[in-house]
């Protein structure tokens, strides 16, 4: 799905709270690679940041990651080569999600999460268009 990139997402709120530009992210994937729980997230921390930059706010606030990540563990924050405070980012995102009334998603993902069945919606009229 083609996205129109702009600058007015919650990115500005996050950047204000951490006092750092998110464009600093190297997208090196070290955070997700080192994370013990990334298998349970729908977005890796790196993806959260890229989504924020792309202004995909709804996807970020709807994701499980922001509710599961950045609780007690600081693994990603410690190994981040540019020192982005990922915990702070997640906290801000949780606050923003609560403010907007997004339901928290704590439940663990099921194994078939990524396996959506092929949609069988099928129309017959005018097959040749």
């Amino acid at each position: 799905m083609r996205l129109r990139i702009h600058e007015n997402g919650i990115r500005t709120i996050v950047e204000e709270s951490i006092q750092k530009s998110l464009t600093a992210c190297l997208q090196c994937s070290k955070c997700g690679g080192g994370c013990a729980h990334v298998d349970e997230f729908d977005l890796s921390p790196r993806q959260v940041i890229e989504y924020l930059l792309d202004c995909l706010d709804e996807q970020v606030l709807d994701s499980r990651t922001i509710w599961l990540c950045g609780k007690n563990c600081t693994e990603c924050e410690v190994i981040c080569p540019v020192g982005l405070p990922l915990n702070g980012i997640m906290v801000t995102l949780r606050e923003e999600a609560t403010r907007r009334g997004v339901e928290p998603k704590y439940e663990q993902p099921s194994l078939i999460y990524h396996k959506f069945e092929h949609c069988s919606k099928h129309r017959r009229e005018g097959e040749e268009g």
């Binding site: 996205l3 990524h114 069988s120 005018g126 040749e128």
Partner: protein, 237 residues
């Protein structure tokens, strides 16, 4: 989802190259620059479809993901990727060949079966793929009889391929293995909206996709490259 290295088939691509008849052999060149996806009409309307990722997986040998994916069947064959590729990779041909590979593994037969009907009822019978039969009820109301329009334009009422032509097409089909291939899939009803009755119309609109095509069981395909919800809502802002 965590991907295991053991999922990968390191020599698939090497094995596949000769099968692909020399049409496609330059996937290694890919720079992963994403120019193809940037202009792709299918990627613009589909969340998961991404030619770049398909090439990556092909070269990596992560072939299970490609073959069982719905995305493989979403290409528009517009050749835009080929025309824009800085490394001259002819990606549409990859799709042809990968689809054949997927069918070999038992995916996508329900799609092929619908098209096979055109081949059997029109291509082999009349020598013309898009026949005079109208399958669009709206158009039937609007346009009417094509034969009369043809006559008015000074053409014969019906375009007829000579018997010899049709026979030769059938012979080619037999010799190249197409007929036996189609027998394996089995026939399918092709309806003509001009002549169809109410019961037929109802059946036509509610018929679910088959799980078995001829003698072949078709497996369920998955959205392997992303979820079927995307940035649709954000795209407008």
């Amino acid at each position: 989802m965590l991907e295991q290295v053991k999922d990968w088939d390191d020599d698939f691509y090497e094995r596949w190259k000769p099968i692909a008849m020399g049409f496609v052999n330059e996937a290694e060149r890919c720079l992963q620059c994403g120019k193809c996806t940037g202009q792709c009409p299918a990627a613009a309307v589909t969340p998961g479809y991404n030619p770049r990722k398909l090439i990556r997986d092909l070269v990596d040998g992560n072939i299970k993901r490609i073959l069982s994916s719905v995305e493989l069947w979403q290409c528009f064959f517009c050749s835009g990727c080929y025309s824009t590729c800085p490394m001259d990779i002819n990606f549409p041909f990859f799709i042809f060949m990968l689809r054949l590979g997927a069918m070999n593994e038992g995916y996508g037969w329900e799609d092929v079966k619908q098209l096979e009907a055109y081949a059997e009822k029109d291509y082999l019978k009349d020598g013309i793929t898009v026949s005079i039969r109208e399958r669009n009820p709206f158009v039937v109301d609007t346009v009417g009889d094509i034969g009369k329009i043809r006559e008015a334009a000074g053409l014969p009422t019906k375009r007829v391929v000579s018997k010899r032509g049709v026979a030769e097409i059938n012979m080619i089909s037999d010799l190249s293995g197409m007929t036996s291939f189609m027998k394996k899939i089995g026939g399918v009803d092709l309806l003509d909206c001009n002549t169809c009755d109410d019961a037929q119309a109802r059946r036509c609109k509610t018929k679910p996709l088959p799980s078995k095509v001829g003698k072949i069981t078709t497996k369920t395909r998955f959205y392997n490259y992303g979820e079927p919800s995307g940035g649709k809502t954000n795209a407008k802002t």
